[in-house]
C-alpha cells in the first residue's frame, strides 16, 4: 500500500502526453485514495496514534533528509479532495485547451503531484521541495494558457508565493540547526522537530517565517492581491486548482506546522491573526460585491471564505478546527464549481463581464440550477456543506473571541449580497445578449453535467451527513490540539469570560 503511494507520485514525472493518460492517472489516484478511506478503520486499528500509514526511506542521510510520507485522516481527506478536483480539472480542460496539450497536462499533473506531496510529506525539506513543485507548473499554467493579462498575473503569483516561501525556507533551516545544536542529530523529520525546544523569542521569529508562507497562500488580507489576478487570468482548471487546492495548502500548513510547532507564539499572535481573518471576511465580501468580472468576483469570495479558516485555526478548539477542515473541503468544491461555471460561460459567450450577461435562466436552465446551488453553498445555506463548516468555525471561535465572531457572522450578510448578485446579474433579468448569439441551445453538455453532478451530490452529502468526514479528521484534529496544548504552560482559553464567570461553569 505504501509502495502504491510512492509509485503514483513518482510516475507523475514521466507523465507527459494526452488527456486520456492524465485522466486515467488521476482517476486511479482518486480510486486509491478512496480505497484507503474505506479501509481507514482497519488502518487505524494497527496504530495507537493518528497515523494510518508511515513510510520512511533515507534520501540524503548526511543532512538528515529522508523521503518520509505519512497519512492521517486530515491528509487523507485532503488528497481525496485533490484527486477529486484533479479529475474535474482534467475534464474541464478537455475542450478548452487546444494549445500544446501535452505540456499542459504535464504541468497540471505536476501541480497535483506537488500538492499531494505537500499534504503527505513528513520531512520538512521535502515539504519545501513540494511547495516549490506546485508553484512552478502553476506559473506556467497561468502564464501560457491564461487569458489576456496572463503574464502579469503569472509574475505576480510567482513573486508573492516565492518570496513568502523563501521566508519559510529560512525558518525551516533555522529550526533544523536549532534542533541539531540542542539534540545532536540534524534532521528534517517532522516528528523529531516537533520536540525542539527554543526560547519564546526564537519561536516567535520562526513562526512568522512559516506564517508568512501560509498566509500569503491562504491568502490573508492584505496579502491577497495576487489571487484575483491569478484566478481571473488562469484557465478554468487553473482557477479550480488554485482555489480548490493551492489555498488549502496554506490552511493545512497552519494546522500541521504553525500551531503544533509554535503553540506559544501562536497564542500570542492569535488575536491579531483572528482580526485579520475577520478583516478578510468582510473585505473580501465587500470587494466581491462590486466586481464585474465573474472570475474576479469568485476570487474575492475565496478571500472572504479563507478568512474563516484563519479565524478558526487561531481559535484553538476542536469545533473550530473541524470547521476549518470542513471549510477546506467544501470551499474547494463550491468555489471550484463556481469557477467551472465561469469557464463554461466564457466558452459560450467569450466574456467574463457579468454586466453584459443576464436572463440566462431561460437559455440554460440546468446551468442556472447549478449556479443557484453553488451560490447558495457560498452564502452558507444549511443543508449544503459550507454551512457546517462556517457554523462549526463560528461556534468554535465564539468561545475564543466574541466580538470578532460577531463581525465574522456579519460577513454572512455580505456573502448573501454577493452570492445573490451572481444570480441576479447572470441568470435573472432580461436577456441582454444579442439575440442571435444566444438563440441556440446553450445549456450544459453531457461532459459538463458529468462534472457538476458529482459536485452537487458531494456538497449535499457534506451538508446533511458530514459526520463520516468529521470522524475521519477527528483524530488528527484532537491530536494536533493535544500536542500543541502539551507544550503550553496553561491550556488554551484562559481568558476570563464575562458570561461564564457569572454562570459559574462552562461546557468544556
Amino acid at each position: 500500500m505504501v509502495g502504491g503511494i510512492i509509485a503514483w507520485l513518482v510516475s507523475r514525472a514521466n507523465e507527459s502526453f494526452g488527456k486520456i493518460i492524465a485522466l486515467l492517472t488521476v482517476s486511479t489516484d482518486l480510486i486509491i485514495s478512496i480505497t484507503l478511506w474505506l479501509d481507514r478503520q482497519s488502518l487505524l486499528a494497527n496504530t495507537a496514534d493518528q497515523w494510518m500509514i508511515k513510510f520512511n526511506a533515507p534520501w540524503i542521510p548526511t543532512f538528515g533528509i529522508s523521503v518520509s510520507f505519512a497519512l492521517d485522516g486530515l491528509s487523507l481527506l485532503m488528497i481525496m479532495l485533490t484527486f477529486f478536483l484533479g479529475v474535474l480539472a482534467v475534464l474541464t480542460s478537455w475542450k478548452e485547451i487546444q494549445y500544446r496539450p501535452g505540456f499542459y497536462y504535464f504541468n497540471l499533473l505536476w501541480v497535483l503531484a506537488g500538492i499531494t506531496g505537500v499534504f503527505l510529506t513528513m520531512d520538512l525539506f521535502l515539504f519545501y521541495f513540494f511547495w516549490e513543485v506546485m508553484l512552478i507548473p502553476m506559473y506556467f499554467l497561468i502564464g501560457v494558457w491564461g487569458h489576456e493579462n496572463k503574464t502579469y498575473a503569472a509574475y505576480k503569483f510567482f513573486i508573492f508565493t516565492q518570496a513568502s516561501g523563501l521566508l519559510m525556507l529560512l525558518a525551516i533551516l533555522s529550526l533544523y540547526f536549532i534542533h541539531g545544536d540542542s539534540s545532536g542529530t540534524y534532521t528534517f523529520d517532522y516528528f523529531a522537530l516537533l520536540t525542539t525546544d527554543f526560547s519564546p523569542e526564537v519561536g516567535r521569529l520562526l513562526m512568522l517565517g512559516f506564517l508568512a508562507a501560509f498566509i500569503v497562500k491562504l491568502p490573508v488580507v492584505p496579502f491577497h492581491t495576487w489571487l484575483p489576478d491569478a484566478h481571473s487570468q488562469a484557465p478554468t482548471a487553473g482557477s479550480l486548482i488554485l482555489a480548490g487546492l493551492l489555498l488549502k495548502t496554506g490552511a493545512y500548513g497552519l494546522l500541521r506546522f504553525v500551531v503544533p510547532f509554535f503553540p506559544e507564539a501562536s497564542v500570542e499572535i492569535a488575536p491579531i491573526a483572528m482580526l485579520f481573518g475577520v478583516i478578510g471576511i468582510l473585505y473580501g465580501a465587500i470587494l466581491a460585491f462590486s466586481q464585474t468580472d465573474f472570475k474576479r468576483l469568485v476570487a474575492y469570495t475565496s478571500v472572504s471564505h479563507m478568512g474563516f479558516v484563519i479565524l478558526g485555526v487561531f481559535a484553538f478548539n476542536e469545533l473550530a478546527w473541524q470547521g476549518v477542515v470542513m471549510q477546506m473541503i467544501t470551499h474547494g468544491i463550491s468555489t471550484g464549481a463556481l469557477f467551472i461555471l465561469a469557464g463554461s460561460i466564457y466558452e459560450r459567450i467569450h466574456t467574463r463581464d457579468i454586466t453584459t450577461m443576464g436572463g440566462f435562466w431561460s437559455k440554460m436552465p440546468f446551468m442556472a440550477v447549478m449556479a443557484l446551488i453553488f451560490s447558495m453553498a457560498s452564502l452558507g445555506l444549511p443543508g449544503l456543506g459550507n454551512f457546517i463548516a462556517e457554523f462549526l468555525t463560528l461556534v468554535g471561535s465564539w468561545s475564543a473571541n466574541k466580538t470578532l465572531t460577531i463581525f465574522a457572522a456579519i460577513g454572512l450578510v455580505g456573502a448573501t449580497a454577493y452570492s445573490l448578485r451572481i444570480m441576479q446579474k447572470i441568470y435573472y433579468g432580461e436577456a441582454r445578449m444579442d439575440p442571435h448569439r444566444t438563440s441556440r441551445s446553450l445549456d450544459l453538455n453531457p461532459r459538463e453535467k458529468l462534472i457538476f453532478i458529482p459536485m452537487v451530490l458531494l456538497i449535499v452529502w457534506l451538508g446533511v451527513y458530514p459526520q463520516i468526514f468529521i470522524e475521519t479528521s477527528k483524530k488528527p484534529v484532537t491530536e494536533g490540539l493535544k500536542i500543541s496544548e502539551g507544550k503550553l504552560k496553561a491550556p488554551f482559553h484562559k481568558q476570563p469570560d464575562p458570561f461564564l464567570s457569572k454562570k459559574g461553569g462552562s461546557h468544556e
Partner: protein, 627 residues
C-alpha cells in the same frame, strides 16, 4: 401512525426533487398532480396525527432519523419533535398549503415555469415543516434558511423583471440580517447550555439562567432579532410589502399564512428563555404594538390591493408579537391559526381578482365586482370581516379579542399595549373595508376577462368556512366561555395569568372593541361609498402624512441612506482594491530605479569616468569628514 411522521416533510421534498430532476419532461397536469398530491398526502397524515392530539394533547412524538454531526459535544441530529404546538403549525402548513397548491394549478396554468413553481412550492413546504418539527435549533435553522431561500426564489419567480429580482434579494438579505443575530444567539445558547436540543434547553433554562440575567437577556434579544427578520416586524419589516412581487399563491402561503409566522413560532418554542428575560419579553410586546400601528396606518394609504394585504399581515403579526410580549402564548398561536385561514383566503381572493382583471393591481381601477364574481366576493367579504374582527360571527373576532383582553388584563399587560391594540383594531376595520368597497362596489372600471374555475373557488370556500367557524373553539368568558384551544395548548406553554380583580371589566373591553370596529367600517363606508369628495379633500390636506404612510414610514429611504448606499459606495470605489495599489507602488518604485540605473549603463566612456570620479570624491570626502 407515529412512525410516519418523517413522511410529513419527506413527501413534499420528494415531490420537489422529482419536479426538479424531471424538469421540462413532465406535462403540466402531472407536475400539478405531483406538487399538490405530495402536500395533500402530508396533510392527510398530519390530520390523522392531529386526531391523536385532540384526544390527548400531552403526548409527544419523537423521531430520530440520523445523526447530523458530532463535534466536541455539539451533536445536533436530524430528529423530529411533534407536540401540541408544532401540531398546530404542521396542520396549518400542510392543510392551507394543500389548498394553495390546488389553487395554483389553475392560477399558474398558463405560466411557462409551471413545473419550476411547484418544485419551489414543495421545497418551501418541506423546509417549513422541518422548521417547526426540528428537535434542535440547528435543524430548525436549516428549515429557517430553507424557507428564506424558497421565499427568495418565489418572489423572484418572474425573473425577467428586474424589480422582482430586486425585491427577492431585498427579502433574502434583510431576513439574513435577522438570521445572523439568531445564529449568534445559537452560539451563546450552546456555550451556556452545552446543547442545542430545544427540550433540553427548556428544561435546563430555569437552573442555568437566573432570572433577569445578562446572558439570558442577550440571548432572548438575539432570538428576537431572528424573529423580527422573518416575521417582518420593526425594524426589519421593509421587505414584506415588496415581496408581493411574487405570484399571489406565494404571497398567500409564504408571506401571509406560514413563513412570516416563523418568528412567532420561534419565540413560543423558546418561551422559557423569554420568561427568564422580562426585559426582552417586554420588548417583544413593544415591537408588536409599534409594528401593528405603523403597518396599519401604512395600509390605509396603499393603492395596490396586495400591498394593503401585505401591510395588514405585518400589522396582524404585530398582534401576535404583542400577545407573546404579555405572555399570552396560546392567544398568539390561536391568532396565528385564524390569521392563516383568513389571510390566505384574502390573498387568494385578491390574486383571483387581479388575474381576471388582466393583472390590474390598483384598487382605484377596480370596482363593481360583487355581481360579476360572486364566489370571490362573498369569500373575500368573509375574510375581510375576519380581518376586521367583525363581532360574534367571524373567527378573527374571537382570536383578536383575546389578545386585546390579555394585553390589558394579562399579568404583563398594561394600558399602553391595550390602547395600541385597540387603535390598531379601529384602523384595521377602516382599511379592510376601504379595500372591500373600492374593489367590489361602485362602478365597474376594468372589464372581467373570464370567470374563475372550480380549483380556485373550492379553496376559497373551504378557507371561508374556516374563517367563520374557526373561532368558535375558543370563546371568551362573557360569551359562553369555551377554552378548547387554550386547554389544547396547555401542555406546551404556560397558561395566561390575569391581574387580579380585573375580570369584571371584560365585557367593557369587548364592547369598546366592537364599537370601534363598527365605527371603522362606517367611516370606510362614508368616505369611499358616500362622500368621495370629502375624502379627496382630506387626502389633499394631509398629503405629507399620506405620502409618509404610503412609503411605509420612510424606513426604506432611511435604510437606503444609511446602509445600502454607503455599502455600494465603498464597494464600488474600492473595486480595484486599494491594497493592490501598495504593491503596484512597489512595482513602480523598482521600475523607476531600474530605469534610472539602466540609463547610467549607456556605453559612453566619459560617463563612466565621470561616475568613477564622482564616486571617488564622495568616498574621499566621507573619509575626511569622519576622520
Amino acid at each position: 401512525m407515529e412512525d410516519f411522521l418523517w413522511l410529513v416533510p419527506a413527501l413534499p421534498l420528494a415531490g420537489a426533487l422529482i419536479l426538479i430532476v424531471a424538469s421540462g419532461k413532465l406535462s403540466k397536469s402531472v407536475s400539478g398532480f405531483i406538487g399538490a398530491g405530495s402536500v395533500g398526502l402530508s396533510a392527510v397524515i398530519s390530520i390523522i396525527l392531529g386526531f391523536r392530539f385532540l384526544e390527548d394533547s400531552t403526548i409527544v412524538i419523537k423521531q430520530h432519523l440520523w445523526s447530523w454531526f458530532d463535534v466536541a459535544d455539539l451533536a445536533p441530529d436530524f430528529a423530529l419533535h411533534l407536540d401540541a404546538l408544532s401540531m398546530v403549525f404542521i396542520f396549518v402548513i400542510t392543510f392551507v398549503g394543500f389548498l394553495i397548491h390546488l389553487y395554483s394549478i389553475e392560477f399558474m396554468h398558463d405560466d411557462e415555469g409551471f413545473t419550476r413553481f411547484f418544485a419551489y412550492l414543495n421545497l418551501f413546504v418541506c423546509s417549513m415543516l422541518i422548521l417547526v418539527l426540528a428537535d434542535n435549533l440547528v435543524l430548525m435553522y436549516l428549515g429557517w434558511e430553507g424557507v428564506g431561500l424558497c421565499s427568495y426564489l418565489l418572489i423572484g419567480f418572474w425573473y425577467k423583471e428586474e424589480k422582482n429580482g430586486y425585491a427577492a434579494r431585498k427579502a433574502f438579505i434583510i431576513t439574513r440580517v435577522g438570521d445572523t443575530a439568531m445564529a449568534i444567539g445559537l452560539f451563546m445558547l450552546f456555550q451556556t447550555f452545552g446543547t442545542l436540543t430545544i427540550q433540553e434547553i427548556l428544561n435546563q433554562a430555569p437552573q442555568a439562567l437566573p432570572m433577569d440575567s445578562e446572558t439570558g437577556t442577550i440571548i432572548a434579544f438575539l432570538l428576537l432579532g431572528g424573529a423580527v427578520g422573518k416575521s417582518a416586524q420593526l425594524p426589519l419589516q421593509t421587505w414584506l410589502p415588496d415581496a408581493m412581487a411574487g405570484p399571489s399563491p406565494v404571497s398567500a402561503l409564504i408571506h401571509a399564512a406560514t413563513m412570516v409566522t416563523a418568528g412567532v413560532y420561534l419565540i413560543t418554542r423558546t418561551y422559557a428563555i423569554f420568561e427568564l428575560a422580562p426585559l426582552a419579553q417586554q420588548w417583544v410586546g413593544i415591537i408588536g404594538a409599534t409594528t401593528l400601528l405603523i403597518a396599519g396606518f401604512s395600509a390605509l394609504t396603499q393603492n395596490d390591493l396586495k400591498r394593503v394585504l401585505a401591510y395588514s399581515t405585518i400589522s396582524q403579526i404585530g398582534y401576535m408579537f404583542l400577545a407573546l410580549g404579555v405572555g399570552a402564548y396560546s392567544a398568539a398561536i390561536f391568532h396565528f391559526m385564524i390569521h392563516a385561514f383568513f389571510k390566505a383566503l384574502l390573498f387568494l381572493g385578491a390574486g383571483a381578482v387581479i388575474m381576471v382583471l388582466h393583472h390590474e393591481h390598483d384598487m382605484f381601477k377596480m370596482g363593481g365586482l360583487q355581481k360579476k364574481l360572486p364566489v370571490i366576493f362573498w369569500t373575500f367579504l368573509i375574510g375581510s370581516g375576519s380581518l376586521a374582527a367583525l363581532p360574534f360571527i367571524t373567527a378573527g373576532f374571537y382570536s383578536k379579542d383575546q389578545i386585546l383582553w390579555l394585553s390589558l388584563a394579562g399579568e404583563k399587560g398594561n394600558i399602553w399595549f391595550f390602547l395600541a391594540a385597540l387603535t390598531g383594531a379601529f384602523v384595521t376595520a377602516i382599511y379592510t373595508f376601504r379595500m372591500v368597497f373600492l374593489t367590489f362596489y361602485g362602478e365597474e372600471k376594468t372589464h372581467v376577462s373570464h370567470p374563475v374555475g372550480s380549483l380556485i373557488s373550492i379553496p376559497l370556500i373551504v378557507l371561508g368556512v374556516l374563517s367563520l367557524i374557526g373561532g368558535f373553539i375558543e370563546l371568551p368568558h362573557t360569551l359562553g366561555h369555551l377554552q378548547l384551544f387554550t386547554d389544547y395548548m396547555a401542555p406546551v406553554v404556560p397558561a395566561n395569568v390575569l391581574t387580579s380583580g380585573i375580570e369584571s371589566s371584560e365585557w367593557l373591553i369587548q364592547l369598546s372593541a366592537t364599537a370601534l370596529c363598527i365605527l371603522g367600517v362606517g367611516i370606510a363606508y362614508f368616505f369611499y361609498m358616500k362622500r368621495s369628495d370629502i375624502r379627496a379633500e382630506l387626502k389633499r390636506s394631509m398629503i405629507v402624512t399620506n405620502r409618509f404612510w404610503y412609503s411605509g414610514w420612510g424606513f426604506d429611504q432611511l435604510y437606503d441612506l444609511i446602509f445600502v448606499r454607503p455599502y455600494v459606495f465603498i464597494s464600488t470605489i474600492n473595486k480595484n482594491d486599494i491594497v493592490d495599489a501598495f504593491y503596484a507602488g512597489i512595482v513602480s518604485v523598482s521600475n523607476f530605479f531600474h530605469d534610472a540605473f539602466a540609463r547610467t549603463q549607456n556605453g559612453v566612456m566619459r560617463w563612466y569616468i565621470m561616475g568613477i570620479v564622482v564616486g571617488a570624491i564622495f568616498v574621499l570626502s566621507i573619509g575626511l569628514l569622519f576622520n
